[in-house]
Subunit: 364 residues, 2 copies
């Protein structure tokens, strides 16, 4: 193993993924984020991305994390559940690497502020990738995927580009629950995700709490895992055949199915807004007028729509979306290639190696 | 059997009911409206009502129906599914009574125009009751209930006052699928339904079409019938004990459960609006602040909320509702006693016996 250069920072970029078949519902309370069903997603390109710089240095007195310019506590009493996992993972990776220097981690999202687009998958995947590189751990992507999964379930899919499948696995310790690439990002380059941003209000229920509540209380949830497993196979077949009609249908059905189990949760979880519903109706109308599905909507734990379509139908889809009042902004993304290293000029840590270059002002 | 006076009109009044455990999903395509699960409801008082006058006379050249001042075709090619059933039922009842005169039927709803409150249960129940009386059929309420069910499923419950249970039954011909009173309207006189009207837009999917689509396409629906059957028993126990906490909980869970199966239908059926969701969240907050449920929301096939509570909590509930922007109007109803006959002064047919008193202008 090459000895890492602990005084020079490592910088990486990673991206979110949009699930075609969703992860909703954990197998147990282990904190390992092992899911009840497999899921499959498209990794997005760098239109939306997270950049993360990591520096290990003896000059640092403690582990420190900055996200979007603000320090995020990762030690002590009042830290978030995610930060606690992150600290555990940092300690774990340092132990494997035999490193006892403290770390400075600086992470920034390019996402439009308040866009309500989940940054946790992008953030956790990029962090694990950057840490592994900074510590010269030479981890296989599979190991990175397992590690990222423990910070934020769907992050395990953002370690790969293209179309990515997360096998649920069956082992209690989560050792067989990781993602892998099914098709690389060049397989279907015309496929696009048009993100329609409709709302910036804060979620009422964190998705982490929701996962547990649905499994425990929804009467209808029992039918979901098997339906989702079938959905994953259906998506694989649809992508293999580049069959947009089949792909769109499976994507829409799964999104509705997941949100239905959320509504049946006690107390109910409701992410779809009037604007989301307008988008759903309009996409159905568009597909009906075409006599087949040329676009499919899908919603994560929020009201923003992801419209999956292909380049040849972009104009029709954009025209359809333009008829909807509640859309604030649209963002288009192709498939991306997964996380990669960046050069020194992209480093987010100042020259003294003790603080972010741009601390402070990012947040409004 | 006393010979009916065919030249003097019969006038009756009936009311809607609000289901605590919902009817959603038919057993088959027979057109008999036999449900997959039993349901239970509260018949409302005459705050919202339907008045119906019926006249059989040899002076009439055809069967004619007026609803809210407008003639509704019940014969010929371009009539609604409901009108076709209604005509079949009229013919059937005339046949049993041995009457071949034509009928003039005039029906008016007191519901606020465009309130989006289902008038079909109230209308069909009142019609069957009025026809049976006009024809001196001396039908048992059970028979009236079976007859009304075929026009509009949930109408079978509006033939009775108080808390009414519709047993799903198992017979293919629907002969054991009818409603009966479980508690009369004086059993729990403090119980109220506060109807919060939020929207007047037209339904995207008629509930009749939705019933069939959910059973055929929803992956999650399979768990609903057994859940609803348990819910009916739970409601019976809660009402018997006048336990508002238990009653409210069961009501809310069933409403969410039904709307979840609707969302999982293909294409999806979505009746809850942003205002509906605000009401749901606010009722949960209210109940949490009380440490028990003092109110329960329920939604039929539309965005208007019915908040079930008791008189002692009315002010708290109204205060909670006043914090919600999207509510246009509230209407309060106690339990009602079911359909009854009215006197001559309420007759909706003109003195000549050939037209409504107030044809024309009711509709805006």
């Amino acid at each position: 193993m090459v000895k890492p250069d602990f005084d020079s920072a490592t910088t990486a970029i990673g991206t979110p993924n949009i699930a075609f078949i969703k992860y909703w519902g954990k197998r147990d309370d282990s904190g390992l984020n092992t899911p009840n069903n497999s899921s499959i997603s498209m990794t997005l390109d760098e239109t939306l991305s997270t950049k993360t710089s990591v520096l290990f240095s003896e000059r640092l007195g403690k582990d420190t994390l900055y996200i979007n310019g603000d320090e995020e506590p990762i030690e002590g009493g009042r830290i978030s559940e995610k930060s606690a996992y992150l600290k555990r993972i940092l300690d774990h990776m340092k132990r494997i690497a035999g490193v006892d220097h403290h770390a400075l981690i600086v992470s920034e999202n390019s996402f439009p502020s308040g866009a309500g687009i989940a940054s946790s998958a992008s953030g956790a995947a990029t962090l694990v990738f950057a840490l592994s590189e900074a510590l010269n751990l030479e981890m296989a992507r599979k190991e990175m995927s397992i590690t990222a999964r423990q910070i934020s379930g769907s992050a395990c899919r953002s370690l790969f580009g293209g179309i990515v499948k997360w096998r649920a696995g069956t082992e209690k310790d989560g050792s067989d629950s990781y993602a892998e690439q099914v098709f690389d990002s060049s397989y279907w380059p015309e496929l696009i995700d048009i993100i329609a941003i409709v709302d910036s209000s804060k979620k009422r229920v964190s998705s982490s709490a929701g996962h547990a509540a649905t499994v425990k209380t929804s009467v209808l949830y029992g039918a979901r895992p098997a339906f989702a497993e079938n959905g994953v196979s259906e998506i694989e077949r649809a992508v293999a055949a580049k069959d947009l009609n089949r792909l769109s249908m499976a994507i829409m059905r799964d999104s509705n199915n997941m949100h239905a189990t959320m509504l049946d949760t006690w107390p109910p979880i409701m992410y779809l807004s009037d604007a989301s519903k307008d988008i759903i109706y309009k996409v159905h109308e568009l597909n009906e007028s075409e006599g087949k599905c040329i676009a499919g909507y899908t919603f994560d734990a929020g009201p923003n729509a992801h419209i999956i379509t292909s380049e040849e139908h972009r104009d029709r889809v954009m025209e359809t979306l333009s008829e909807i009042d509640g859309i604030r902004e649209t963002i288009e993304s192709h498939m991306g290639g997964g996380p990669r290293l960046l050069g020194e000029k992209d480093c987010l840590i100042d020259e003294a190696g003790i603080a972010p270059k741009n601390s402070n002002t990012r947040k409004e």
